[in-house]
């Protein structure tokens, strides 16, 4: 984990503590009406836990996207190297093509001379 340093993480912590307290209170309670009231509080707390969780997930996703950007830079570096190697192959092929053309010119000159 990244440590409890954001305000949202503190809110998530506080909600967790609240839920723990409510669950502990429910375990001790025998009055059905009071148990139901506690259950309804738990349902309300859960709704907040989901909402805070969604915002925290969004925050963490933004950090993931930023980190993925660094990997993307490495990909560009690899692609540049591939382009360099492809350029080398292309260069050799071009030289070969040029020399091949000269060969044909020579062959033609010989044929004409004959």
């Amino acid at each position: 984990m990244s440590g409890k340093n954001s305000d949202l993480e503190k809110v998530a912590d506080a909600l967790g503590d609240l839920v723990d307290s409510l669950r502990a209170a429910r375990e001790k309670e025998n009055d059905p009406d009071k148990v139901k009231a506690i259950n309804n509080e738990l349902i309300e707390a859960n709704h907040r836990i989901t909402m805070v969780g969604a915002v925290l997930f969004h925050e963490r996703t933004a950090a993931i996207s930023a980190a993925a950007g660094k990997v993307e830079s490495a990909k560009a570096e690899v692609e540049a190297e591939i382009a360099k190697l492809d350029k080398l192959n292309k260069f050799i092929e071009t030289v070969s093509g040029f020399l091949g053309l000269i060969d044909k010119v020579i062959d033609l000159a010989k044929a004409v001379a004959i």
């Binding site: 984990m1 990244s2 949202l8 993480e9 998530a12 912590d13 967790g16 839920v19 059905p32 148990v35 139901k36 259950n39 309804n40 738990l42 349902i43 309300e44 707390a45 859960n46 709704h47 836990i49 989901t50 909402m51 805070v52 969780g53 969604a54 925290l56 997930f57 969004h58 963490r60 996703t61 933004a62 950090a63 993931i64 996207s65 980190a67 993925a68 950007g69 660094k70 990997v71 993307e72 490495a74 990909k75 570096e77 690899v78 190297e81 591939i82 190697l85 492809d86 080398l88 192959n89 050799i92 092929e93 030289v95 070969s96 020399l99 091949g100 000269i102 060969d103 020579i106 062959d107």
Partner: protein, 295 residues
């Protein structure tokens, strides 16, 4: 004599190159395995997000239906993973995959073979009427192989250098993803925490409320108890899936580190584990859906 010397030099250089080069087949195999692991983990994440959102949405409806108010608001419907965040995760997995694909392409022996062939063709043309270099056929083949090895060695060296330099960033991506999922539901604010809360504080408490409303002897009591037991099973299965997604993400980081360090076999070990976990997740998700989650 001169040809003999050249041949000796070429053979020595070829030997040195072969000795220094990274074991290409292992690197190619590791990169292929890592890409496969990324695809599997991406699927694990998609399945897990869908299940978490479905659960939370159902609980939002249950909660709202029990409230006395008469106005519907968007905030009544809470889901832990928004469509935008799911897309951002998919994009991050896509970046990891295309990075792997670029490395795979770089070390693809076909490129080095092409260079060798091009050098061979060039030598043949140099021996043609235009230049008439008179390079012996044996030496042509040797230089062709030498060029091929040189290009392959350079490609693999570059790939390893880039992977070692990128390893902290790769690790950061998967570690942050794992942290967002959470190692256990006790990590507050994690997706595991949210999912556990939706089961325990909403599904189970809702069933508890329903049970209390039934009189002793009512046949429906047994059904509620069955639903309660099934909900506990579904909760544990979904949390186990999230734990495995967490572990898969960390395993991806280990696989990349192993490949970057040139430890053949280690990357395959980690990806093999991820592969096995996906089947477990799908099996548990199907079982949880059949047992009637969100009742």
């Amino acid at each position: 004599m001169r040809t003999m010397k050249l041949r000796c030099v070429a053979i020595i250089l070829l030997g040195v190159l072969t000795g220094c080069a990274t074991p290409g087949p292992f690197l190619t195999q590791d990169l292929g395995a890592i890409r496969s692991g990324i695809a599997i983990t991406r699927e694990q994440a998609r399945v897990s997000f869908d299940a978490a959102n479905k659960l939370a949405l159902q609980q939002s409806i249950e909660r709202k239906a029990g409230l006395p108010d008469t106005i519907i608001k968007e905030s009544d419907f809470a889901t832990p993973v928004s469509a935008a965040d799911a897309a951002a995760w998919s994009n991050a997995f896509g970046i990891l995959d295309t990075y792997g694909a670029a490395l795979q392409s770089l070390v693809d022996p076909k490129r080095a073979n092409d260079t060798g062939d091009a050098i061979g063709d060039l030598a043949n043309i140099l021996n043609g009427p235009a230049i008439n270099a008179k390079i012996p056929a044996s030496l042509t083949g040797l230089f062709s192989t030498f060029a091929q090895a040189l290009v392959q060695a350079r490609a693999e060296k570059t790939a390893i250098t880039v992977m070692r330099r990128t390893d902290p960033a790769f690790h950061e991506v998967v570690s942050r993803m794992a942290a967002a999922i959470g190692a256990s539901p006790r990590e507050r604010g994690s997706l595991q925490d949210v999912v556990e809360s939706n089961w325990t504080n909403s599904v189970l408490t809702g069933l508890d409320n329903r049970y209390q409303a039934l009189r002793v002897g009512d046949a429906a009591r047994k059904q509620v108890l069955t639903d309660y037991a099934n909900a506990m099973i579904s909760r544990d299965a979904q949390l186990a899936n999230l734990s495995q997604l967490h572990d898969s993400l960390l395993a991806l980081g280990e696989a990349h580190a192993a490949a970057a360090a040139g430890r053949p076999g280690d990357a395959l070990f980690w990806i093999g584990r991820i592969n096995g976990w996906l089947d477990d997740i799908k099996r548990r998700t199907d079982a949880a859906q059949k047992s009637g989650e969100g009742k």
